[in-house]
Amino acid sequence: MIALRAGWRRGLILLRQSFSNGAELFAHVFWPLLMVGAAVALRGRDFGAFSLGALAVPGILGMNAAFGMVSLSQQLTADREDGTLLRARATPHGMPAYLIGTLLLVGGGLLADLAVFLVPAALLVPGLVTGGLGTWLTVAGLLALALVATLPLGVVLGAAFGTARAQGLLTLPILGLVAISGIFYPLAALPGWLQAVGQVFPFYWLGLGMRAALLPDAAVAVELGESWRHAETVGVLAVWAVAGLLLAPVVLRRMARRESGSLVAARRERALRRAG
């Protein structure tokens, strides 16, 4: 009870800080608008009978949802380095409240980013089906599933790649996965083995689900097997969600157990030495 209430309050305070800070506010607006620009620029190019712009919008939505995983992982690393995690450990009910607060921060920021992207994209990019309530319910449901599938994975990644430097290295393979997940280019156009790799990870399925919701039915012709594969989409995302939810508490507890004041102090000294 204390953990829920304190975690909720913590999330709200963190969100307010995030949206009242110039640099972070800029990031919340700049990147989504850059994506809108990309989608608008692609609307004149066609893939089969469809504009690449319209194909890209759902993919970008899916990618951004999956990127919540990366921001959570980075947040966790930063909180470990500066002792926020240790503070949570030293406080009664601190760890669950920390986790709830951080999930609210990342989840809330992500939803804001998606809104900043989706509203202008829906208006500026032709060929999207955005009229019906059903579309938006599907998008909302898929986003919820996306968060549950990817945020616990972010906790696992944050615990596994403990330093800011390791987090930097992590970005590369994730960008690689995005490249082979049919975000900017349909998966059907890639070689078979890359298609197989792409379909293991949640990025592809998030993009596919978003395309199913936002594109006209005829666009299914571009997809693998010419099917939206609804069952597989929900199934794969659910498997990732369950795996993440099972693993995350275990690795987080392990990670927190290893924290101590002298470790935080040692990291601080290393950081100062690098800076100086």
């Binding site: 304190a6 002792g83 926020t84 240790l86 009664p92 004041g261 935080v264």
Partner: protein, 281 residues
């Protein structure tokens, strides 16, 4: 009532043993200073008591519980101030203290506590803009916000100027709780502590009140004099009484009298020097 009990604790990192058979206890309301040079094992000891590390061997209880298995109710009774907090830099001072108070069943109201540590003027300031001394006082405020039954302070005044140090000592002296603090500063230990445990290379080499340590551990005063052309040296725990009797017996025959009082500082400095040459080697 015993609040902290440490019995035969050993700590080993790989082949290096940093704590050898450490034993001491702290009673309710007492302020205990764990004093020792850098590398003596002070931080390891306090981290075991805080529940952040498990000892390789031995028994530890804090408020009747093994810290490694302390639950939330136990955590709520324990306050912790680490050597270097730098978390929550983006939070405002009053906001952070008010938020952390929510986790405890009977917290201090944040404004009252900020006044007690002299940070009322900084309540609206971001934590990362505080000076070192202000940040430390905020850390102590956070450490006591839940009205803990025991407070751990690890090197609380490292890097302080004398004024900040004095203010900090006044703050700690005013706390109404059991305190265990580590320090390498003898003066600080004498000023704050009811009792001092001296740790040297992972061993407890002394344990007692500052006065008792000066008497028992440091041992006797040394009295030197000359009589009839001969030199005499005598060790005695009661140099004043000894000298009185010396004069009573020999009167004006006594010359070149010297009395060297046992001092805690001398022993401690000898101890530290010895430890530091070890490190240098």
């Amino acid at each position: 009532m015993t609040v902290i009990e440490v019995d035969g604790v050993r700590m080993r990192y790989g082949a290096a043993e940093v704590l050898h058979d450490v034993t001491f206890r702290v009673d309710a309301g007492e302020t205990l200073a764990v004093l020792g040079p850098n590398g003596a094992g002070k931080t390891t000891t306090i981290e075991i008591l805080e529940g952040f590390r498990r000892p390789s061997a031995g028994r530890v209880t804090v408020l009747g519980t093994d810290p490694a298995h302390g639950d939330d109710a136990w955590r709520a009774r324990v306050g912790i101030v680490l050597q270097s907090w730098r978390d929550h830099g983006k939070w405002r001072v009053g906001e952070l203290l008010g938020h952390l108070a929510e986790y405890y069943p009977r917290p201090w109201p944040a404004p009252e506590l900020l006044a007690a540590v002299g940070l009322t003027g900084q309540a609206g300031q971001k934590v990362r803009t505080l000076s070192g001394g202000q940040r430390r006082r905020l850390d102590v405020a956070i450490g006591v916000v839940g009205r803990p039954d025991v407070l751990f302070l690890d090197e609380p005044t490292a890097g302080f100027d004398p004024v900040a140090r004095r203010e900090f000592h006044d703050l700690v002296t005013g706390l109404d709780t059991t305190v265990l603090l580590t320090t390498h500063d003898l003066d600080e230990a004498e000023r704050l502590a009811d009792r001092i445990v001296i740790l040297d290379r992972g061993r407890v080499v002394a344990d007692g009140t500052p006065a008792a340590l000066a008497r028992e551990i440091v041992g006797a005063d040394e009295v030197r004099w000359r009589r009839e052309g001969r030199r005499f040296t005598e060790s005695t725990p009661d140099s004043t009484g000894f000298v009185r009797e010396l004069f009573a017996a020999h009167g004006t025959a006594i010359a070149e009298l010297e009395v060297h009082r046992a001092s805690l500082e001398q022993t401690y400095l000898a101890l530290v020097r010895h430890a530091e040459t070890e490190v240098a080697r």
